[in-house]
Amino acid sequence: MPPAENVHWLFATGLLGFGLCLLARALVGEELWNRSTWRRYLLPAVLFCIGAAMWPVTVFFVVSPIHTLAHTTWAQLTMLAGIAQLGLSAGRLTSRWWNLLVPVAVAASGAMFVVHESNPWFFMRSSFLHHLIGWTLVVGSLIPLVLVFRPRSTALSAGLAALAIAVAVMLYADRDRAPIFGRLSPLAGTAREPAPEVRP
């Protein structure tokens, strides 16, 4: 079993790739991006896969009931958003309101980050990052929400890309039992990576 930080880094990698693709799509525009069939399905497929990858975390990292519940909800909503985007890309779904599943999934992801972190902000670095990522996603879900009504906005598309990349960077910064701004709660145990600035 990999340590939790490695799992976070793997998700960060998926999100970074997703964010870079969103940025590329924002730069060239949807028309050119969708000209190639595989590219049209790439972003929805990545979103779906991120949701599907949440299931092993749900099953193998059973920490508490709320942890399991959060990851299950998270996995289902992300997969649902991915499927809806696949349906829209394939032309099987036509109503633009299906796009609302993306902000719902983003906001729910943020809520899940906050809900399944039982420690306060400055308990250790992973606690801080869970709170930070959670609130970033909750606030950031406004971007895909506005995009539903202004789908051709380059600034909003780039903003969504920036949100994904920012969350990826925060996830990459995650470490198991590491200090945050020099603080590490004595209840957290010893830092996995020795840091000279630790001030318990």
Binding site: T13, A24, L32, S36
Partner: protein, 88 residues
């Protein structure tokens, strides 16, 4: 005639700018990964193979960032730039 030419030139300049920005994303991502590895060399555990497990060797942020940058550039950007240049 003149305004048509101006519009064509503007479109071409816009496409060039977009192509330039697109081609910069992958290398910049790789550069970020390399910079991270230089700033925190202990992240690259391959330099100390016996002290770490397989997960630490394979799943380390600087390596993952470099891999994403390279894959993104080769798989996504190159065909996209070709399409962009073909389209313009």
């Amino acid at each position: 005639m003149e305004s048509e030419l101006t519009a064509t030139l503007e479109r071409a300049a816009h496409s060039t700018w977009r192509a330039l920005a697109l081609t910069a994303i992958g290398p910049l991502t790789v550069l970020a990964g390399v910079a991270w590895a230089l700033v925190q060399p202990y992240r690259v555990t391959l330099l100390d193979p016996r002290a770490h497990g397989v997960w630490d060797h394979v799943v380390q942020p600087p390596l993952l960032v470099v891999t994403v940058g390279v894959l993104f550039h080769v798989v996504v950007v190159r065909p996209l730039v070709r399409a962009l240049e073909g389209g313009s």
